[in-house]
């Protein structure tokens, strides 16, 4: 099996190389035979998918067959590992995750190559660029991180097992989502670079890649937040985001990708920011690769760096080559990227996009700077420093609040120019609503002058309310206009409105989701925690909950031994739940792992961890966290994903008006 896998990887490298070389040759020398040569390049690209898929399939089958002659399977699986985790073995280690990356890239390439008739020449350029990226990953797989490398000496009876932190259901879906996001940005990058090389006129490449970008962004969003949810559910420290370098690595391309999604609208609508968009999509692709480099090279320590090796050098060269290539073609062909329009007013949708991009890029820079500063410090001062949550909380939170303000104001601004009167008219009610939220929060005991964290929480609540209210007001105002014309009720009119411009209103739903996420995050300053050694019948009170230890016990399973406590949760005199915080000891890897138990409500999460046993008394130590509003983070993410899916629905055909109707002025902010 391993030999077939190894051969498949070599064949994939040969096919990708052919796809790239033949593709470039066909594009560089247009002539009688070039079309047929280009077609062979396209087919070689398609075949690459089949061969990489075969290699990945063999690795998964080897995991299920407990083939410990393959070193990768030995290091990341064991006989008693449950089936879903054996499947997840594919992306649980260095070599497997690179193979998975390659598989996803070839799958994206397959879809692109099958749709080549949309614009044969632009697709041929994009196909060649994707083949070039594919070559890099296949070179790594064949010569630096071979997933089918064999064990030396006597074969072990059982594998070393999967890292306990990865033995959690979300790990079966979190990495694929994140990788679909990372890898997916290769496609719009390939189209952008292709358009740049061929001096492609117009904005067609943006129209072609719009859906790719939105889908990719949705995957990355999903991946980032699944990672946060995994950290919350598995790491057991009661939080979901620790500003760890690997978390930061996933956030950076998300930030630039979000900036790109906004600024392409400027190019589509007004023919502006063409050069900027080129650099933005390049930066997004580049940061996705940089993230992989950070995760894999081990140059920065992280709780998430599950696979570290010496492949950092390969990534450095790849990052350098892609930068030089992109910069070369940019400076060679930038003359055709001149803006077609001028900015007419400071109070306009265009300037709101500019400031939105500035803040997103600033947030990205802050995260990048904080991630790399320990290395810079070591280089300059000779000693490393830690750049942890206190730094990011001080620097990134004000930027996030400004972004939230723009999220609220931006949709109210019209393209080209917005009059102050219209801004005042559209902004007044949402602003009053936000002010009311602030007053209510102070009335209910939030004291922003006591602690900067409370001040941020208050601002975040007010701005989130502002975003939600502006989104609602946009739907209601647009719905009313349609309702007057069609006689439909307001709800039906709003649905009608949505179908007329799914991208715009889907985008508003995403904005609403962001506001809901922020509401979830703003509970953080009000977190409480308590720790207590709990024997039979011992009580611990946290918030409105009383926890009673009913029992504590141990068990033995094929994959692990475990000890856990049985905790009854009371609210007043009513028992509302029994929770089982647990600690496991995995036999194969010989590693312990805590498993928190979480009771989630819309108001707060009760989060219990089994910290260990007091050796002197033999009684368990239980830590309880009370985390307000956390559930809204996950609800907000679902709304964001839902909004993106809705934005992907094609617009409904324009409705024919059969009777003369007076034309109404479109509400402010009309247009995308």
């Amino acid at each position: 099996m391993s030999q077939i896998g190894s051969f498949a990887l070599l064949l994939a490298l040969a096919l990708s190389t052919y796809s790239f070389l033949a593709g470039v040759l066909a594009l560089a020398r247009p002539g009688p035979g070039s079309e047929r040569l280009g077609e062979t390049a396209r087919r070689a690209g398609i075949a690459t998918f089949a061969v990489v898929f075969l290699a990945a399939l063999i690795l998964v089958i080897s995991a299920f067959q407990d083939d410990f002659s393959i070193a990768y399977i030995f290091h990341h699986s064991n006989r008693d590992l449950p089936a879903p985790y054996k499947f997840a073995t594919l992306w649980s280690g260095q070599e497997g995750s690179l193979l998975f990356w390659s598989l996803l890239l070839s799958a994206y390439g397959l879809v692109l190559r099958l749709r080549h008739k949309t614009d044969a020449r632009l697709f041929a350029y994009a196909s060649a660029i994707i083949a070039a990226v594919q070559i890099f990953f296949l070179l790594l797989l064949n010569f630096a991180a071979h997933p089918f490398a064999l064990m030396q000496g006597e074969l072990p009876a059982d594998g070393a097992g999967l890292n306990p932190l990865l033995q959690y259901p979300e790990m079966v879906i979190h990495p694929p989502m994140l990788y679909l996001g990372y890898v997916g940005f290769t496609v719009p990058f390939a189209f952008a670079l292709g358009a740049l090389i061929m001096r492609y006129p117009g904005e067609k490449w943006i129209h072609i890649t719009r859906r790719w970008t939105m889908v990719t962004w949705a995957f990355l969003t999903c991946g980032v937040f699944l990672g946060a949810h995994w950290a919350y559910s598995v790491l057991g420290w009661g939080g979901y985001w620790g500003w760890d370098p690997v978390e930061n690595a996933s956030l950076m391309p998300w930030l630039t990708g979000t900036a790109f999604l906004h600024s392409v609208m400027m190019q589509e609508k007004r023919g502006m920011l063409k050069m900027w968009n080129m650099w933005l999509i390049f930066a997004t692709f580049w940061l996705a690769i940089l993230g992989t480099f950070l995760t894999r090279s081990g140059i920065i320590s992280s709780v998430h760096a599950f696979a570290q090796s010496s492949i950092g050098g390969w990534f450095k060269w790849f990052l350098l080559i892609t930068f030089v290539t992109f910069a070369f073609f940019f400076f060679k062909n930038k003359s055709h990227l001149r803006s077609e329009h001028k900015l007419e007013s400071l109070i306009s949708r265009e300037s709101s996009f500019l400031f939105n991009n500035l803040l997103l890029l600033l947030a990205c820079f802050t995260v990048l700077w904080g991630t790399w500063f320990p290395l810079i410090s070591e280089y300059v001062q000779g000693n490393k420093v830690t750049v942890g949550p206190p730094f990011y909380n001080k620097v990134a939170i004000p930027v996030a609040l400004l972004l939230l303000l723009l999220t609220a104001v931006g949709p109210l601004l019209a393209w080209r120019k917005t009059s102050f009167e219209s801004l005042k008219r559209n902004f007044m009610w949402p602003a009053l609503g936000a002010l009311l939220v602030g007053i209510l929060m102070i009335a209910f005991g939030v004291r922003p002058w006591q602690d900067i964290a409370y001040f941020y929480a208050l601002m975040a609540a007010m701005l989130s309310a502002l975003v939600a209210l502006t989104v609602a007001s946009e739907f209601i105002r647009g719905g009313r206009v349609i309702s007057r014309h069609t006689g439909q009720n307001l709800l039906a009119s709003m649905v009608h409105l949505f179908h007329r411009n799914t991208r715009r209103y889907g985008g508003y739903i995403v904005h609403f989701g962001v506001a809901v996420v922020i509401i979830g995050i703003l509970g953080t300053p009000f977190n409480q925690d308590k720790e207590k050694e709990m024997g039979f019948g011992d009580k611990m009170i946290i918030g409105s909950y009383t926890l009673v230890c009913e029992s504590y016990t141990q068990d033995d399973n094929p994959n692990y031994t475990n000890e856990w406590a049985i905790i009854s949760v009371f609210k007043g005199d009513h028992k509302i739940e029994t929770m089982y915080p647990e600690r496991r000891f995995y036999k194969a890897s010989q590693q312990p792992q805590t498993l928190p138990r979480i009771r989630s409500t819309y108001k707060e999460d009760l989060y219990l961890t089994y910290e260990g046993v007091n050796e002197a008394t033999g009684r368990p130590i239980i830590k309880a966290h009370l985390n307000p509003l956390v559930m809204w983070i996950w609800v907000g993410v679902l709304i964001m994903i839902g909004g993106t899916i809705l934005a992907l629905i094609p617009n409904a055909a324009p409705v024919r008006v059969t009777a003369p109707a007076r034309i109404q002025a479109a509400p402010a902010g009309a247009g995308d």
Partner: protein, 164 residues
């Protein structure tokens, strides 16, 4: 002797302001638990788990419990925050602090994001001003874009032509 008559509303307002000031000053006073919590969140656990000291729940961690004890002992000795943190730096090295200090080269860590914000803002304002000054590009074929009354005339005509 004639007493100066003070406006009662002003006097009441002054009382309220004084009361608020006193209450807020008292509210701001920190107790030992809050200091422990604050300092514990400014330190890292040094076991290699990369977590904030008070958030380290690393199973079998040999450092966090001891470090929490040392922090408590430092507070019991009546040391101020800076001295307590300095004790940790001397014992565990500069990486024990969860964020760079505002001294020496470490200041750069704090300055750069704000410098980037200022530079970014200046660049954006410069771009906006440059764009506003830029003359509108002529449409292909040398036709100038219509505006104002002429544009409204075309709009009215288009409405008439497309009405059913």
């Amino acid at each position: 002797m004639k007493r100066t008559k003070t406006n009662p509303i002003f006097r009441r307002g002054l009382h309220v302001a004084l009361l608020c000031l006193t209450v807020f000053t008292v509210l701001g006073a920190s107790d030992e638990g809050a200091r422990f919590n604050n300092l514990g969140h400014r330190l890292m656990c040094v076991c290699g788990c990369n977590q904030i000291l008070l958030e380290c729940n690393h199973v079998g961690c040999t450092y966090s419990e001891r470090m929490r004890g040392e922090l408590m002992a430092g507070l019991d000795r009546g040391e101020n925050d800076d001295l307590t943190l300095q004790d940790f730096v001397q014992k565990y090295g500069p990486t024990v602090l969860a964020a760079p200090t505002a001294t020496g080269f470490n200041r750069v860590a704090w300055i750069m994001p704000f410098l980037a914000l200022v530079l970014g803002l200046l660049t954006t304002i410069f771009i906006v001003l440059a764009w506003r000054k830029r003359p509108a590009l002529a449409a292909p074929g040398g036709v100038l874009p219509v505006s104002g009354g002429e544009l409204e005339h075309f709009r009215t005509q288009a409405r008439k032509d497309t009405q059913i």
